[in-house]
C-alpha cells in the first residue's frame, strides 16, 4: 500500500546562528489576535519549535510528524490526530495529562497555558506542538539564514531522484566514453 509521507520542518545546524527569530515568528503565527509590536504583548511568546544550544550544536528542534506517531498512540483521549498529512493536537480535547510529552522522542511537545483561559480565573493547560502552519511554516519564512527547510516528502523524493538521475547519466556517459 502506498501513501504520502508526512511533511516536516528540518533545521540545518551548520547554517543556524541561534537568533530565535524562528521561535518568535512561530509564536506570532499562532496568536489568536494580530499583534505587531512587543509592547502589545501581555503574555510570553509560546513557540512550537525550540532552540537547542549546547557547546557543540545550535539548531531548533520541532515535531517530525512521525508516520507511526508515539504521541498519537499515547493520548488517552484521542486528542492527537493525523489530518491531511500532519499530526495535530485537538486543543479542545486535550486534558493536559503529559503522556504525549513523555512519548515524544524529540521533546517537540510542551504544555502551555491557553490564552483565552489565561485571561479568566481557571487557566487551562494544553499540549502544544508544530502544526506546519497549514503548509507554509512561518519559521521557514522568517529565518534570516535560510537554515530551515520545509520537507515535503513527495516532492523531496522526486527531486532527489531527478538529481540522482542527472548525476548518474553524467557518470554513465563518462564511463561509456572511456569504455569506448
Amino acid at each position: 500500500m502506498s501513501r504520502n509521507l508526512n511533511s516536516f520542518v528540518l533545521a540545518d545546524s551548520k547554517k543556524c546562528i541561534g537568533c530565535r527569530v524562528c521561535e518568535v515568528a512561530c509564536a506570532v503565527a499562532h496568536l489568536d489576535t494580530e499583534i505587531k509590536t512587543v509592547g502589545n504583548m501581555n503574555f510570553s511568546l509560546n513557540p512550537r519549535l525550540y532552540l537547542v544550544k549546547t557547546p557543540e550544536i545550535t539548531m531548533p528542534v520541532q515535531c517530525r510528524h512521525c508516520e507511526d506517531a508515539p504521541c498519537l498512540k499515547s493520548c488517552p483521549v484521542s486528542a492527537i490526530k493525523e489530518q491531511s498529512n500532519r499530526i495535530v493536537i485537538d486543543e479542545a480535547g486535550c486534558i493536559g495529562c503529559k503522556s504525549c510529552i513523555i512519548a515524544c522522542p524529540f521533546g517537540a511537545i510542551e504544555l502551555i497555558v491557553s490564552r483565552q483561559e489565561a485571561m479568566g480565573d481557571d487557566p487551562e493547560v494544553i499540549a502544544s506542538k508544530c502544526d506546519l502552519c497549514g503548509g507554509a511554516p512561518a519559521c521557514v519564512k522568517a529565518c534570516p539564514r535560510e537554515a530551515l527547510q520545509y520537507v515535503d516528502m513527495v516532492k523531496e523524493g522526486t527531486q532527489r531522484r531527478i538529481a540522482a538521475a542527472n548525476m548518474m547519466s553524467g557518470f554513465h556517459n563518462e564511463f561509456m566514453v572511456r569504455e569506448g
Binding site: I17, C19, R20, E23, T37, T58
Partner: protein, 459 residues
C-alpha cells in the same frame, strides 16, 4: 566633579545566544564577543543608537530556566511590571524617575515630544503601524499630569532659524565648510569619538531637544512666572541616545540641567498603560502655546532628509529674499543612504548631501579630511530611515513589519507637514514672536548663550 554621562545600551548575557545579528546593524562595531557566546557593548565606541535593541530576537523563553528572575531583569532595565517578552539587547530606561516626579502634584512640569513619536506611539496601543496621533498624544500627556505640553517641533523650527543663519554666515563670511547638522546626538558622538579633527564642521546649534529644554527653563518659566529651579523638563524621544545627550554636563544654559529626563516612545506607552488611560478613546487636544506651535518644516525633522528640506525652505529665502517656488523639496527625500542635491539660488549653487545610516558617512568624512569635499551642507542621521526608525521606537516582533512601520511612519510625517498652515520655520508666528520678545536675532548674544554649544574630542 564631572557628571557621568548616561550610557545605557546593554546586552543581557543570560539571554544572548551570540547570533551577532546586532553586530551587523551596529554602525560603529561596538558589539564584541565570540560567535555563539554572549556579546557585550564596548561603551567607548557605542553611540547609543539602539539599533541592536531593535533587531535582537533572543528573548526569555518560557521553556528555559534562568538564574535571573523576571522581576530582577525588569528592575535592571528600569521597566514597570509588564508581561511582554524581554530581549537580550536593551536600554536602561527612566520610567520610575519620571513617574515619581509626576506623582508630585506641586511639580511644575514641562514636556516636549519629538516629531517621530506622534507617528509611532499609537502602535503600542494596537493601532495600525504609522498612525498619526499628535492630538491623542497631547491628551495622554495632559492626563498624565504634565503642567505644560510643549513640542520639540517648535524647537526644530528654532533650530532652522539658527542653523540656516549659521550656514549662510559660514558661506558668506567664512567658517568651516562643509557644515554638518548637529541634531542627531549619536552622529555628534561619532564625530567626537572617531573624527575629532572635523568637530569644527558640526553646526554649533544644539539639537531641538536641548534648544527646547533651555527655552523651557528660561522663556517658558518666565511666561508662567515660575523659577527655572522649579521646572521639571521631560523629553519624549524615539531615540535611546537622547538620554545621554540630555545628561551632558554642558547642557545647562538655563543654570540647571535643561532636560531633566528623557523617555522613549516605548516608555511613554508604559506610563499611559500604567495610568489606565484608554489611549484609543482619547479626544484630540492641542499643544500649549507658545512653545508648542510648529510649522510643517519642524515636523519633517523626524525623517531622513527632513532637516535638509526644512533648512532649504528657509535658507533659500534668506539667500534670495524670495519665496521658494515649491515648498516640497522632494529631491532630498528618499531611501538611499547618500543623496546629493544641488539647489540653485541664483548667485550660489548650494550643494547638499543627505546621509542616513551612520556607516554611509565614513567615505564622505574621508573626503572632507583630504580636502576633497565638494559640498556646503550635510545632514546626517544615524538610524536607517531617520528618527522614525530610532532605537526607542516601538519594537516589531517580526522584521518584515519593521520595514512596513518605517514606510507608514514616513508617509504620516509628510502628511502631517502638508496639514500645517505654516510650512516654513521662519513663518511660524511664535518663532517670530520669541525672537522679538526674548531672543533678539538668530546668532545673537542670547541665542549664542542658550541655543548653541561646543563639542569635545573623546580622545
Amino acid at each position: 566633579m564631572a557628571k557621568k554621562l548616561q550610557e545605557n545600551i546593554k546586552i543581557d548575557a543570560e539571554l544572548c545566544t551570540g547570533c551577532r545579528r546586532c553586530s551587523e546593524v551596529c554602525p560603529v562595531d561596538a558589539i564584541e564577543g565570540e560567535e555563539g557566546k554572549p556579546q557585550s557593548v564596548n561603551i567607548a565606541k557605542c553611540v547609543m543608537c539602539g539599533q541592536c535593541v531593535q533587531i535582537c530576537s533572543a528573548y526569555d523563553s518560557p521553556f528555559e530556566q534562568y538564574a535571573t528572575s523576571r522581576s530582577q531583569r525588569l528592575k535592571e532595565r528600569n521597566m514597570p511590571m509588564v508581561k511582554e517578552p524581554l530581549f537580550a539587547a536593551y536600554y536602561q530606561g527612566d520610567f520610575f524617575k519620571v513617574k515619581k516626579q509626576l506623582a508630585d502634584k506641586k511639580q511644575f512640569s514641562m514636556v516636549q515630544c519629538a516629531p517621530a513619536v506622534r507617528v509611532s506611539l499609537a502602535e503600542e496601543f494596537g493601532m495600525p503601524l504609522g498612525s498619526l496621533v499628535p492630538g491623542k498624544m497631547v491628551a495622554a500627556l495632559k492626563r498624565l499630569g504634565f503642567t505644560r505640553v510643549y513640542d520639540t517641533n517648535f524647537a526644530a523650527d528654532l533650530t532652522i532659524m539658527e542653523e540656516g543663519s549659521e550656514l549662510v554666515k559660514r558661506i558668506t563670511e567664512g567658517g568651516s565648510l562643509p557644515m554638518f547638522t548637529s541634531c542627531c546626538p549619536a552622529w555628534v558622538k561619532f564625530v567626537e569619538n572617531e573624527y575629532p579633527e572635523l568637530i569644527d564642521h558640526l553646526s554649533s546649534c544644539k539639537s531641538p531637544q536641548q534648544m527646547a529644554g533651555s527655552m523651557f527653563k528660561t522663556y517658558g518659566a518666565s511666561i508662567d512666572g515660575v523659577d527655572a529651579r522649579e521646572v521639571y523638563s521631560v523629553a519624549i524621544m524615539p531615540c535611546t541616545c537622547k538620554k545621554s545627550e540630555a545628561s551632558r554636563p554642558e547642557m545647562k544654559s538655563s543654570g540647571y540641567q535643561d532636560v531633566d529626563a528623557v523617555l522613549t516612545t516605548r516608555e511613554l506607552a508604559y506610563l499611559i498603560k500604567e495610568a489606565a488611560i484608554d489611549f484609543n478613546d482619547l479626544p484630540e487636544e492641542s499643544f500649549d502655546k507658545p512653545l508648542g506651535m510648529y510649522s510643517g518644516a519642524g515636523t519633517i525633522f523626524g525623517v531622513t532628509g527632513g532637516v535638509m528640506e526644512a533648512a532649504i525652505r528657509t535658507a533659500y529665502e534668506l539667500i534670495t529674499k524670495e519665496p521658494i517656488e515649491n515648498v516640497n523639496v522632494t529631491s532630498v527625500r528618499g531611501e538611499q543612504g547618500v543623496r546629493k542635491v544641488t539647489l540653485d539660488t541664483g548667485a550660489l549653487k548650494l550643494k547638499t548631501v543627505v546621509v542616513s545610516g551612520l556607516k554611509n558617512v565614513i567615505p564622505i568624512l574621508e573626503d572632507v579630511q583630504r580636502g576633497k569635499a565638494d559640498f556646503h551642507f550635510m545632514e546626517v542621521m544615524t538610524c536607517p530611515a531617520g528618527c522614525i526608525s530610532g532605537g526607542g521606537q516601538p519594537k516589531m516582533l517580526l522584521p518584515v513589519d519593521g520595514r512596513k512601520a518605517y514606510e507608514n511612519r514616513k508617509s504620516s510625517t509628510y502628511q502631517h507637514d502638508e496639514e500645517q498652515h505654516y510650512r516654513k520655520s521662519h513663518e511660524n508666528p511664535d518663532i517670530q514672536d520669541i525672537y522679538q520678545k526674548f531672543l533678539g536675532e538668530p546668532l545673537g548674544h542670547k541665542s549664542h548663550k542658550l541655543l548653541h554649544t561646543h563639542y569635545k574630542p573623546s580622545r
